[in-house]
Structures are given as C-alpha cells and as structure tokens.
Symmetry: C2
Subunit: 334 residues, 2 copies
DNA sequence: TTGTAAGCGTTATCAC
DNA sequence: GTGATAACGCTTACAA
C-alpha cells in the first residue's frame, strides 16, 4: 500500500494543506500538530509523490546527461562526478548513451523533454545546430562537458586541448626527444584539431617541426584498435622516431601493444605519452605516462554550474580545467 | 513557450479528450480531425508532458539502476545493455552509483521511490534485508544483476561464479599446469566464496589440491591495487607456482604488473587468467586471457526481464548466463 | 465521432 | 494556525 498526502491528513485530522506545509517546512502550524503529523507520516511510511510535486512545481529534480558511448571508461568518471553533486542536490540523473555517434541524439532529447528534466549536460560530443535549437526550445539550462561549441555560446567545462597537447609535446622535448611522432584521433574541431595544433606548435617553438607533417598520423577515432592499427604506418613513415604522443590513452594502449608485438621495448626503444589518464593508464604495463584530464572534477563542475543556473538564473561561464602530466613509466629521459 | 494539450485542443477546435485519444492512438475520431490535430501539434511543436501522464497512469516509464561504483569499467558495460533495451521500451534509466559500498543505498532507494520508478535493477551488490524490505514496500519489480540473493527469492541474471571459476582452473590444468595459485577478491557469499570453491573443486577433481590452501590468497576486494599488493605474498608462499587464476581482471592486471616489476615474464614464467573480460583485458600487454561474463548481454536480459514483469505481471525466472574462456596471450601451454 | 468532467497527488491562494 | 479549493497537464469514464 502506498499512501498519499490525503491519507496522512485524514489520519492526523488535519488538512492536506497543513501536511504539505509541514513537509516543505513552511510556516503556519503549531508544534503540536507538526509532531502529530510527523508521527502519522512515520507510522504509515508515507513518502511524497515526486511526480505530482513535479507537475505543480514545474521542477522534476532530474537532470539529463547525454553521452556518446564511445568510451565507457571515459564517461564513467564524468558520470560519477556529475552524480555526486546531483545527488547532493536531492536530484537524480537520467543517462542517455547515444549509441553510434549521435544517431539517436534527437530521439533522446525528445524523451528528456517529455520527462521535463530541469537541465541538461551534453558530454563530449559536438553540439549540432539541430540539437542546440531544440534544447533552446526545451528551455532548460545546458552545459557542455568535455566539449565546447565554436558556433553557439554555451557554457562548457573542459581542459584546453590545445594547451594540454602542447604540454605533452613539451614534456617529451624536455626529456631530450627531438624525433617526436603523433597519432591523432580524428579531425573534429573540438578535440581532434586542437590537439594536433597544440602538438605542432610545441614542436615549432622548439624548432623541431618537420616540413611535411610525416610525423603525424591522422586516425579515424580515439579507440584502441585505431592506435594498434595505425602505429605501424606511422613507424614506417617516421622510422627514427624516439617518442610518440597519442591523442588518447586508448590510442596509446593500442600503439604500445603494436610496438611490443614487433619487439620494441617501452620506453627503451620508444617513449609514449597518452592523453586522458583513464583508469587503464595506471594498469598498463608499463604504467602509462599521460596528460590528465580531471574527469571526475569536470563532471562535478558541470553539474554544479548547471544547478547554479537553475537556482540563481544567471549564466554560467566557461571553465577551463587545469591539466597535468602524470609521470609514470613510458617516457625515457634521453 | 511550451504548450499543453489544451493549447492544441483550442487551436484545433476539439476537446482535450480527442487530442488525448489521437496521441495515444485509441479509437474515436475521424480521419479528418486526426489530420487537423496532428497538424496543430506539428505547428506548435507540442510534446506531451510525461510528468502529468505519469501522475494519472501511475507509470513513469523510468527505471532505476543501483550500482556500487566499485568499477566503472564493469558497470559501464552492464549499463549500456540496460539502456539499450530500456530505450527501446521508450523508457529511461536513472542511475545511482552508491559510493563507498552501499553507504548511500537506502538514501537512493528513497529517492527512487519518491520518483515512482516503474522497476529496479540492483547490480552487483549484496541485497541486504533492509533493502529488500523497503523495495517490497515500494511495490516495484526488482531484478538482481551480476549478483543473487541466497536469502530472498528474487530473480537475477548472472553467470555461475562457481562454474566459471571451475572452467578457469580446468583451462589452466588442460594447458598442463599443476602448480596453480589463486588471488581471490574477498569472502562475500555472492562472488567471493563461489569463485574460490569452483577453483578448489577443479583442482580437487584433478587431484591437485594442496593440503593447506597455501596456493590461495584471500584479498580484500577485486581491485587492481589489491592484485598488485598481494601477488608478492602469494608468490612467497607458493614459489613454484606456474599459473595463476585471479578472481577479476583488475586483480589480474595488478598481479601482472607486480610480476613484471620483479622481472618475471608473462606467460613464460607465469601464466595468468583473469575473470570478467573487461575492455582492459584486451588492451593489456600481453592481452589477458580471461573468462568472460557477457556483461552487456546480461544488462539486456535483466532489463528485458524487468519489462516483462512490468507488462505481463508474471515473475521472471533466474537466468544463468553462459561464460566462456577468451584465449589471449597470458597462458602458456606447458 | 465527440465533449464534459472527475481524478491522479501535490502546492498555493485565499479565506477564516 | 488552519482549511477549502483551484490549479498543474494529462487520461478516461460517461454522456451526448
């Protein structure tokens, strides 16, 4: 049996209005009736119906999160950050992993709109005009996480891909490397291009840039298989390479695997640095040196920003999170 | 501007009842009015309010999923299976990762109850009496995922830990190993004990069991660090071990790392087999041989079972999923 | 084929 | 302090 506010009211011999006031601790009742009502609530095990409440308050205490499923390792950390602040706000999160890169995004957006979520976090996927327009119509606050929008002015939380890649390359240079290759994860404007540009700029600033970019292999995506597949091609093009920057940890793991398979030793024959600092980086053999994105913290910031917009109504500003190099065992000082 | 069914009705010059009928394609209107209404809906961009609908239908088209956050790699796969069938049912999933092993479980249960979720998937954590009682009161169908309950009769979806571990051990034996060690992940009744028992039984059936179980190291949890920390202890106790079964892939990764650090070669000096087949297993160097739990499929089954209970009302039966050995590179044939 | 109106479980605006 | 009662946006008898 699940009770309603009416049951409580009846049993406590007061009106539903009074019960409601007590539940929402608003003024307007004596201590005595409060005690009585609370007691009845306790007895019945009454819990308010958030659906009804949501209907009148026009606030569901639910936010939506849209992820591309491209890496559950990646989204797991972001999600746990989001969850932790969302739960602290007595709210819950509906997750939507859009399967094959955005194919179902519009469908999920509709679902979330019908559910009247309070706000939306859009993670690590590019915000198409179609999405943006629809979200505007939904009229809920939006924050981008681990992505940004050149086209629309939307608050976001991410590290600077450009700077982080610059740091990675510079780190390698500081370790004495001059023949540095890169495996990139694609040519998207958000993460793909800036990581390449940051890398190139670092080399250029140290007068190391090859003329024809033979040291950069443009892959299709950021996955393990891509890294494994492409490493040999890069090596063929750039055989005297002593260090390698991979645009993701997955890519790095793949490259490492390919390298080991042809008998190379990491880091003796080749230094490798990744990007992300996923849990796997620590577990690799040897443990992977990488540039960290503080994913969990980023999730927290995004959610915190969303709730701020929700509560105070003012716009959230973009937040560039600090990145840092996590030194482990895959880079050798020449 | 977000429109209601009244706006549509007014604009189309019909009653809200008619609009509702059309929306839920129930009988009772001419083709002409239908066309008219649909057109208005299109024009206004009207989308029904699922909150209001949920209030009257007592069905929110939302299910809750409770995870222990102990491994996002693990829950990621389960979640994507759950999501895929849930979304196909036009429903959504609210996720709750209970932080430090169940500390917040009751709190989340209350949250989910207030939200009036239609059903609950309880993943890979032990179902305490307190939880069970409360869920009974909630009155929603429950299915256990990657866990089971000896105490209460609740449908569950999981592999047989006992059999899977037996298989792992037998696999090692078939590869010619006789000195086989194990690092376990704890002594819980669900996953801890059965994996140990299955392992022991396989050895016993092949007359390999040492007298004092010096070949089994009982760890605290299933994590990477635990594997790394405990491997040396096991090795000391059981120095002539040629093969090792780890009760999770994380444990295996940790053990491998520890082994490599003291100069051992995998699989030349030591064969290792894991348990789970997480994404990391494939990415390990060398790639980890392991016994697979079909996590994504398990998630699908659990959700499918839940919806069956929801729709037809009948009880779901427990489903033991098949496990299989994924042969990669960490086990050597002696 | 269509409309009226009650009800879902709350909150909020009035009165008293 | 407290209680009617009208919303909130929908569905669903019951009438017409």
């Amino acid at each position: 049996m699940v009770y309603t506010i009416k049951d409580v009211a009846k049993q406590a011999r007061v009106s539903t209005a009074t019960v409601s006031r007590i539940l929402n601790n608003q003024p307007g009742y004596s201590e005595k009736t409060k005690a009585k009502v609370l007691q009845v609530i306790e007895e019945l095990g009454y819990e308010p119906n958030a659906v009804a409440r949501g209907l009148v308050k026009k606030r569901t205490h639910t936010i939506g999160v849209l992820f591309p499923s491209v890496s559950s390792l990646f989204s797991g950390k972001l999600l746990s950050g989001i969850e932790s602040v969302t739960h602290a706000k007595e709210s819950s999160v509906i997750v939507c992993h859009t399967q094959e890169l955005g194919s179902k995004t519009m469908k999920y957006l509709h679902l979330l709109n019908e559910k009247r979520i309070d706000g939306l976090i859009f993670a690590s996927e590019v915000l198409k005009g179609e999405y943006y327009d629809y979200i505007q119509k939904m009229g809920v606050p939006l924050v981008l996480l681990a992505t940004e929008s050149p086209e629309f002015q939307v608050p976001y939380v991410k590290v600077s891909d450009y700077q982080a890649s610059y740091s990675a390359a510079r780190y390698l240079i500081e370790k004495g490397h001059t023949k540095i290759g890169m495996i990139s994860g694609g040519d998207d404007v958000i993460a793909g291009i800036p990581r390449i540009e940051g890398f190139k700029q670092a080399l250029k600033d140290h007068a190391l840039l090859p003329l024809n970019e033979e040291n950069i292999f443009w892959g299709e995506d950021f996955g393990y298989k891509e890294g494994k597949k492409n490493f040999p091609f890069l090596l063929k093009r750039f055989p005297n390479m002593t260090a390698l920057f991979c645009a993701s940890d997955h890519l790095a793991m793949g490259a490492m695997s390919a390298a080991v398979e042809i008998g190379m030793k990491i880091p003796e024959d080749l230094s490798i640095i990744g990007y992300d600092n996923l849990p796997i980086a620590e577990m690799a053999t040897p443990p992977l040196t990488t540039v960290e994105q503080p994913l969990e913290e980023m999730g927290k910031r995004a959610a915190a920003g969303l709730f701020r917009m929700l509560e105070s109504g003012d716009k959230m500003r973009a937040e560039i999170m600090p990145h840092q190099i996590i030194e482990r065992k895959t880079v050798k000082h020449l």
